[in-house]
């Protein structure tokens, strides 16, 4: 049935050397194009036909299917109690491909099922050949932490990236069912208001990403998927991190040059992109693309004609994007039926709302010229001039250009004090702005006097509660809280709560924030029992107002859970910890900082309740993600401390030992030998060796326990000495 192999007496020392050499050549030529590859092989093998044949075999093999691959996954899935079918259909890593849901110039998108560590449906995008897989995956890994920080309901999560057996890069993303924004709007015949709402959602989501330092770089209708869920129109941005990882836009619209890959789909490409290299791409790229998206949704076409861009030579294309002024939307509006005036008004509304994101480039020159004119015509101290100076400062500040903003803010304050007096509402706002400026500059101590003055003066005015006043109270309270001045912070938070209740009622988001803040400062003072009702109210209110799955709600639940743990109310804390973790796993998977914090919190709680097996089951599946996401932070050694403790207590002494030693040395390196975290690790090691010795006496584990006890005692002495 099966013949033993007799070809060429494989297995001798010559064969070993030849395989090694063939391997070297194989790895060296793998990334090359066909012609270059053959040439390189020819050069490397010379006249050695056997070597050449072996290299070619490896190259064929790399692209061939591996018949038995996936068997191990089947076995493990079965061992995990999985009664699912028998592994028909394709599989990539942990993912089983279910059906093809999209295809384009970039490659293919599948709906797939992830099996471990959590079972969920995902979208798996396989990029077509022609890219260096290692580079793509490496670039993705570099961005991974930033991507993990994004938690937004309108951003589809990117979970994972890797290489298929044939070496093509793939990305695993949250599965989003929906149509491209343009198609959805047309199919559902949405009016201007609904279209603007979609763009507004996208703006907010992008702002969240930009705050986390992530740029999309390929915003366009097909990357904004829209669907109707429970009667509501929901938009989600997909493909975050992918354009950057693949370094070029992977769409049917991508164009290439001889010299470099052009980053940008021409219709959505910003003037900066058209003029500069990839390194200069920043948040403005996304902002411009949003503008184009808005334009397209309003007018039914992109600002520059696609046909014209397609047929233009490369240089001409760049010139059009950089220099030409597109037709105004109002002159193009066709099918939507809105009047020009309506469109202009709505545009102004959206500009006000998203000034920081979308309108900076337009607003700045306008402000500058307005200010110059007013200075000349009205004089520096005129109220309108003051307002322009203020606008310049705030605009620059919002955009993060702090050093340019500061002279305007200072000048504004100085003139307002002189012209309007210290107690004028405008002056108070200018004082508060200076306070914010100091906060943004990272100088909280210098912010405090500004905030204090603004607060006192505005209290004296006895105005109705208003936004700036409440914001100021909140900022000031946060500031005091960070400085450890909890009693003062508490007072301000209570005042803010009072104002919020009066201005917005009990169920407003801002009121709930104040309630939560009071809980936080009480907890920081060690007044745990008093903090509890506030934290409970924050949770219940957010459940009511925002829903159970809103990120803010989950944060509030986590905080309550930690408070209950600190009070030793473990039985009450456990269901909360489980609830949060379950939701986070569903929404974000393990590769999210929030999820990992919850995993560790629940793990620690279960250990405290001596539910050691459950603790291990909670912690162990998160280990890979924890190592990838947590870096060298204190969270990592705390995670390892819990994991190692759970391993040891469930009888896996060797694994527990290794994990705890790793935790101990990480804690010692980060925090020092005598730090509390390090001492906790020492204690855990002592406990582990004591248990190990009890299970297997006479193997010397008691001696190791004694060694760690000596270490711990030295650490305790050092800690006490440093206290004195």
């Amino acid at each position: 049935m099966h013949e033993p192999r007799t070809d060429g007496g494989a297995g001798g020392p010559d064969d070993a050397a030849r395989l090694e050499r063939a391997g070297e050549i194989f790895f060296a030529v793998r990334g090359l194009g066909l012609a270059a590859r053959d040439e390189a092989i020819e050069a490397a093998c010379g006249g050695d036909a056997k070597l050449r044949a072996l290299v070619m075999l490896l190259i064929r093999g790399a692209d061939a299917p591996m018949p038995i691959e996936g068997l191990a996954d089947d076995i493990r899935a079965a061992a995990d109690g999985d009664a699912r079918g028998d592994g028909d259909g394709d599989r990539i890593g942990n993912y089983r491909l279910l059906s093809r849901i999209g295809e384009g110039g970039f490659g293919v998108v599948y709906e797939a099922e992830q099996e471990r560590p959590v079972r969920r449906r995902v979208a798996l995008k396989i990029i077509k050949l022609g890219m260096d897989t290692r580079q793509v995956v490496a670039r993705f890994e570099a961005e991974r932490q930033a991507l993990a920080l994004m938690d937004h309901p309108n951003i589809a999560k990117v979970f994972d990236a890797g290489a298929t057996p044939t070496g093509r890069p793939y990305f695993v993303m949250e599965l989003v069912k929906g149509s491209p924004a343009t198609a959805y709007c047309d199919e559902h015949r949405l009016g201007i208001r609904e279209r603007l709402d979609i763009v507004a959602t996208v703006c907010e989501a992008l702002q969240h990403a930009h705050q986390k330092g992530v740029i999309h770089r390929d915003i366009k209708p097909s990357n904004v998927l829209v669907a109707t869920i429970d009667g509501k129109v929901v938009a989600k941005i997909i493909d975050f991190g992918i354009a950057k990882a693949t370094s070029a836009r992977l769409t049917e619209k991508t164009i290439f040059t001889e010299f470099r890959q052009l980053i940008g789909t021409p219709e959505y490409m910003s003037p900066e992109q058209a003029g500069q290299s990839a390194e200069d791409v920043d948040t403005r790229t996304d902002v411009y693309a949003i503008g184009v998206l808005l334009y397209e949704l309003l007018t039914g076409s992109t600002p520059f004609d696609s046909e014209r861009l397609r047929s233009a030579a490369y240089g001409e294309l760049l010139r059009i994007i950089r220099e030409e002024e597109p037709l105004r939307p109002s002159t193009r509006i066709g099918t939507l039926g809105g009047t020009v005036g309506q469109v202009a008004a709505l545009r102004q509304a959206i500009a006000d709302r998203y000034m920081d994101l979308a309108m900076f480039a337009e607003a700045l020159p306008l402000q500058e010229s307005a200010l110059a004119t007013r200075r000349k015509v009205l004089g520096d101290d005129h109220i309108d001039t003051l307002s322009s100076i203020n606008n310049m400062g705030v605009l620059l500040q919002w955009w993060g250009k702090l050093s340019e903003a500061e002279p305007y803010l200072r000048e504004c304050l100085e003139r307002k004090r002189r012209v309007l007096g210290d107690d004028h509402r405008e002056t108070i706002a200018a004082i508060a702005n200076m306070g914010s400026q100091m906060i943004y500059l990272g100088k909280p101590m210098e912010a405090e006097p500004y905030y204090k003055e603004a607060l006192e003066r505005s209290r004296r005015l006895q105005d109705e509660p208003n936004d700036p006043m409440i914001n100021m109270l909140g900022s000031m309270a946060t500031l005091l809280n960070e400085q450890g001045k909890y009693v003062e912070a508490e007072k301000l938070n209570r005042e803010a709560l009072e104002l919020n209740r009066r201005a917005y009622g009990n169920d407003h988001k801002a009121t709930l924030v104040s309630i939560g803040n009071i809980g936080t400062v009480l907890k920081a003072q060690g007044r745990l029992a008093e903090a509890e009702p506030f934290m409970r109210e924050a949770v219940e209110g957010r459940r009511r107002v925002l829903g159970g799955e809103h990120p803010d709600t989950m944060v509030a639940i986590s905080e309550l859970e930690i408070l209950l743990q600190a009070q030793g109310k473990l039985d009450e804390a456990e269901p909360l910890a489980r609830e949060v973790l379950e939701k986070q796993l569903k929404l974000f998977g393990y590769e999210s900082l929030d999820t990992l914090i919850s995993v560790n919190s629940l793990g620690g709680l279960l250990l405290a309740k001596q539910k050691n097996r459950e603790a291990l089951e909670t912690l162990a599946p998160a280990e890979g993600a924890a190592r990838a996401v947590l870096g060298n932070s204190a969270r990592k050694h705390r995670f390892l401390l819990n994991l190692g403790t759970a391993q040891g207590r469930t009888g896996d002494f060797a694994a527990g030992e290794a994990t705890l030693i790793e935790a101990q040395s990480a804690a010692a390196k980060l925090r020092g030998e005598s730090h509390r975290d390090t001492r906790h690790c020492n204690q855990a090691l002592i406990d582990l060796y004591a248990a190990w010795d009890a299970a297997q006496p006479g193997k010397g584990y008691d001696a190791r326990a004694a060694e760690w006890r000596t270490t711990l005692e030295a650490a305790v002495r050092a800690a006490e000495a440093s206290k004195k």
């Binding site: 299917p65 038995i68 691959e69 493990r76 079965a78």
Partner: protein, 172 residues
């Protein structure tokens, strides 16, 4: 010895149990090895004094045992008339000549692994642990005591060589 690594024991036993279940004869009679026997054998191999036994090492031994079970099964199958579809080992991505049964593929792989081991023992071991033990690169790196990069490279080489060889016979 019963208190040693109960977690790994449980896992290994579940692995062996489910695995052998999938290799039952048409009449439901299990053959070759009982789950406990397989685990016992793995234990005997594991328990060498003075060594550190981590979860990874256990999985590595389990991989060898799995390979052996599968080969025994395939050999037996090869001499019997094949039963119904439910007896078949499920192997995804089955390719190559239509005539090649999965059992033959397993035997072929087994022999190719032996051949590879004579030329590049470490790469062959990596392939065994990965294909039969479902181990991750990190776990394999831990067991063999080399870097993760080395494991990746070994796997790529072993995979290319094995798949290349199997394609060769499939086309022939």
């Amino acid at each position: 010895m019963a208190e040693l690594l109960p977690l790994v024991y449980t896992e290994l036993r579940a692995l062996a149990g489910s695995y052998l279940n999938r290799h039952r004869d048409g009449d439901g009679r299990s053959h070759t090895l009982q789950p406990t026997a397989l685990v016992h054998e793995a234990y005997v191999k594991m328990v060498e004094p003075g060594k550190r036994y981590g979860r990874e090492h256990f999985m590595a031994v389990a991989a060898t045992a799995m390979r052996q079970v599968l080969v025994d099964h395939a050999r037996k199958k090869g001499t019997e008339k094949r039963g119904g579809d439910r007896d078949r080992v499920s192997i995804s991505g089955l390719a190559g000549a239509a005539e090649a049964t999965q059992e033959m593929r397993v035997l072929e792989l087994h022999e190719l692994l032996a051949e590879l081991a004579r030329m590049h023992a470490r790469a062959a071991r990596v392939a065994e642990m990965r294909l039969f033990g479902g181990m991750t690169p990190e776990q394999m790196a831990e067991v063999i005591g080399v870097s993760r990069m080395t494991v990746d490279r070994d796997w790529e080489l072993a995979r290319a060589w094995l798949a290349g060889k199997m394609t060769e016979t499939g086309d022939a």
